[in-house]
Subunit: 244 residues, 2 copies
Amino acid sequence: MSVERAKIRLFVDAALGPAQSVPLRRDQAHYLFAVMRLAPGAPVALFNGRDGEWLAEVVEAGKRGGILICKAQAAPLATPPDLWLVFAPVKKARTDFIVEKAVEMGVARILPVQTRHTNSERIRQDRLQAHAIEAAEQCGATYVPEVAALQSLGKLLDKWPAARRIMFCDEGRAGRTDALAGEAGQGGWAILIGPEGGFSGDEVERLHGMPQVHPVALGPRILRADTAAVAALTLWQTTFGDWR
Amino acid sequence: MSVERAKIRLFVDAALGPAQSVPLRRDQAHYLFAVMRLAPGAPVALFNGRDGEWLAEVVEAGKRGGILICKAQAAPLATPPDLWLVFAPVKKARTDFIVEKAVEMGVARILPVQTRHTNSERIRQDRLQAHAIEAAEQCGATYVPEVAALQSLGKLLDKWPAARRIMFCDEGRAGRTDALAGEAGQGGWAILIGPEGGFSGDEVERLHGMPQVHPVALGPRILRADTAAVAALTLWQTTFGDWR
């Protein structure tokens, strides 16, 4: 597209379309006008996860709010592949990283799960969702994956869709790096990353018993959960996803 | 191997071998005896980057030092593939992550470079080397890659070995994800990751002019430098490295 590129990308809730006006929340106005010092006329790229990316222009800049007007669509909506990232939350900074990385690498949904050996009993879902939005603003994505509420792995597997396959990254156990080869990508996939202490024996047994599960090895060294997430996402994206 | 697994892995400088005694530095003694509360007789896994992993036993535990005795080799030395990671340092936490990830993913050398658009003018080489050691202790590696001193990309390329290929990860420019296919892994490789601002036009032109350079694309979104490093390492390891 030959539309002028705005330096700032902002996620908004409002609908985007030709000549659409977009009101700003107080924190967004603070960011654009106090921090970034934008003045009326300045270009901003907007996306809302539904309508692609739009080039907009500041028309009103205030301390507690402001208004932008959409000028032209800069990119259509690009939805990521039908891939979920299911992971056991680890320490705060690394959990934040996993969410950031999932957005950059391209997933449709992010599902934190409580496993037998998960250390953290709770997550701040709203904070992780905000992280996902920030990562999308940064990486040029026009879609923001939903971060689901923390749920137990057992309950998630109880209602697991029959057609959705699971790339099961089980540190230190069987599985081949090329286990995905020859497996078609239809029906959706999920990548499952375990906690730092690994999955419990029960969990591993249950997963190996599911026909949807494909155990995959991630090399000879022990990867931290955040490293494993990026490595698994790379393997999946280059095999089935939008990196091909 | 059926040797008893020690829960603590420690990198030491001393030679390791049958009945070899290993003196501890003050900080190591503090960690083992004050923090981890080990007593004489406790098992510790030792590695030095040269002699593999050895199961050792505490024989003297003091406040300012201590002595371990090697009992048996638990694993032979496993050197990573002949792969260098060349990257432009970014913000401190992300630079630390890149070093940690490089060790987990398996590289032989880590070379921070100053590019036209690199933000940070200096790095703490000793701190990054300590990070590499800590990552090796954590991920079960028996080898610790050297972290080289910061040098300019231009000077590094001036003396670049004719046989060492470069996997050039240039965000937002040409290159295919499968650009490595069919390229043999002999002669050594390097992965080159750019700064957050990308490479300059001069740098890109020079790299594209080198016969060793293979531009590789990392998907449709813009990856942060730390994400790009892990993704590129995954692609390389599954194509040529020890993940096959």
